[in-house]
Symmetry: C2
Subunit: 387 residues, 2 copies
């Protein structure tokens, strides 16, 4: 397999893009990535587009082909991939596979979603497309309900407190405030987090990521295709992993862990030859505050059960043992579902180039973690700066 | 790249499956393919699921993971791919790529759709997700409208008649009558076809494929994984191609041809080292009767402009120059959108094994052609029987 590099990145802001079509956002992000890469359009051999719910919310499919046409990419295979909230990460993995296997020398990967035009019931209903509605659907459970249950289980087993979890919110909202791509940064106190509206007990408003519009894109390619005259550090894909887990909450052996994440992390460490201690920063899937704690443990970055305390002690912040979600994460940067996994890559690339608004000192290795549905799909990527 | 073989096939009937969940149909077809293959479940390295509109019509996504779980496939990458009506073919291509590149030794590919539970306006609206609704949508055009326009253009330029086109319908409906998987076979006269209800002038009712429920599946693998003790002929993938074309009808240079098909056919002939004359039979994308004529010309199987006359002269029937749609095609077998491209593979495999209800004599090489939307996505596969 050939080495895969990131030659260009592009992103819209995450937030509200009223009146913009979903394909126009994807085109904007993609065009930025293509221009930045400096790679001739004719070298691009495929397009992978991650999107989750454009069908239900926009009445639009075949987005990959629609977007490619508007970018002047003709005749090449254009594929939408879907795995709920992991759709963007799955798009990235397929782009990497095409380059690594020799099928293509350069591939455009783009993730996109628009959600803010839809009503809350419409968005909730569309997001629940990621559940096993034949089984779990009968329970009436939504995703806030699921993560509320996970919180209760984590609190009971490990003693994780409301205040521990609030510190995740405060950290991510503060990072979001400085990230120009982020939707909902804020300077919050523990009191404010704990006073916010109850959503799905014990989850409160600030514990939940917002619905968002946005797109993010990357141009991945072989080492040979990287522009020779660039003064930017070279960013290489050291691991690209996709796994699956149970779609049925009733089949999950443990509410405090997602099998798909644990497996993906194991495979990613093996592929890269790295250990958790080698990861300088991670952009992980904090769709809810408690998810960041569970994910950090599942990824092996924090000891099992210690996620809440590490967050409260600042060990997952900028001066901590491992920096988690310096972008602000889904909680503050936003969660345009299909774009999220690709947006995480953009954030990590900015860090590895030393160009991030919340720059992690000496960031050489970054991880991304994108989780779909009830843990039914997961991707983990590790990116590294070439020496 | 490694050779890719088809180790097992499975399919539900295409038609109405009232009360069945979409995932249960996919599980049925997949289980048949897995059992027939004789390959240990643990060797299956990935699942690709083709589906178009389960989001809008069923409120369900993450189908790949849902189906894999019910098949006892754990932890492996499970991906839904979407490219409108070409979703099934795209799933097949990705399965082939994974095996050919060495990423996996065996991959499950399944296509599925359910449509008959929805109302006609709901189905029409969902199918129009495959159009460029920002541009062409403003014209009010639906897919019958598009193919009605193509018919008019073909008639004007090449002199193709209502009776020529009726002979496509009569042929496919007759084949469908004998195909146990088919939804709507019929013994029709030219008079009956020409007397059927007008849908989108000049397209009449029998010129249109029906909405359908159904699933089809294949297990593809390396040569080494093929069961050594099988008495069935070995079926090898000789070409697997995916292309794209304009999503905007207003950008199509010619209503009588789809660029994506022409390009895919060229690449498939090159990959396989075959010429059109080497193809014994083809399952092509006759979503409307006129589409079979255009596709047969785009694939190089019939001289440009002669599609209607060849059909009328029986040159595309069982005793003809090339046998087109011996399954009954979309017109008679049905068109459960995401399943169609995989169902075409099942039909060709049955032909190459000599097991088809409408067996083509000495069938050694078969082609499939799966076209999405306005020609925005296309796949062409060529399968051959090992000597």
């Amino acid at each position: 397999m050939r080495d895969v590099y990131v030659a260009g990145i592009g992103s819209t802001t995450f937030g509200k893009h009223a009146g913009r079509s979903i394909e126009s956002l994807a085109v904007d992000a993609s065009a930025k990535a293509m221009v930045e890469s400096g790679i001739d359009r004719a070298r691009i051999g495929a397009v992978y587009l991650g999107n989750f719910i454009s069908g239900p919310l926009n009445g639009k499919e075949v987005l990959a082909g629609l977007v490619a046409e508007q970018l002047g990419l003709q005749g090449i295979p254009c594929t939408k991939v879907e795995g709920a909230c992991a759709s963007g990460g799955i798009a990235m993995r397929h782009a990497c596979l095409m380059v690594a296997s020799g099928m293509c020398d350069a591939v455009l990967v783009v993730g996109v979603e628009t959600m803010t035009h839809a009503s809350t019931p419409e968005v909730t209903s569309a997001l629940n497309c990621a559940m096993d509605n034949e089984y779990d659907g009968l329970s009436g459970l939504t995703f806030p309900g699921l993560f509320g249950l996970a919180w209760r289980a984590h609190a009971q087993r490990y003693g994780t407190t409301r205040e521990d979890i609030a510190s995740v919110v405060i950290k991510n909202k503060a990072y979001g405030l400085k990230n120009p791509l982020a939707q909902m940064g804020a300077d919050l106190s523990i009191e404010q987090v704990c006073a916010s509206a109850m959503i799905a007990d014990p989850l409160q408003l600030f514990d939940c990521c917002p619905p968002s519009d946005g797109a993010a894109a990357l141009l991945v390619c072989t080492k040979e295709l990287l522009p020779a005259n660039s003064n930017k550090p070279r960013v290489r894909v050291m691991a690209s992993v996709q796994t699956s887990g149970s779609a049925r909450i009733s089949n999950h052996p443990d509410l405090c862990s997602f099998d798909a994440t644990v497996l993906a992390a194991q495979q990613a460490y093996k592929q890269s030859g790295l250990q958790p201690a080698g990861i300088d920063l991670v952009e992980l899937h904090d769709c809810f505050s408690i998810a960041e704690i569970i994910d950090s443990e599942d990824l092996g970055l924090v000891p099992r059960g210690e996620g809440g305390r590490w967050a409260a002690q600042g060990r997952t912040g900028m001066q901590g043992d491992v920096v988690i979600n310096p972008s602000g994460g889904l909680l503050a940067k936003g969660h345009p579902v299909g774009a999220t996994g690709v947006g995480q890559m953009v954030e990590v690339v900015l860090q590895l180039r030393g160009e991030h608004a919340n720059q992690v000192a000496n960031a050489g290795i970054g991880m991304t973690h994108n989780l779909g549905g009830t843990g039914v799909a997961c991707t983990v990527h590790i990116l590294g700066r070439d020496a």
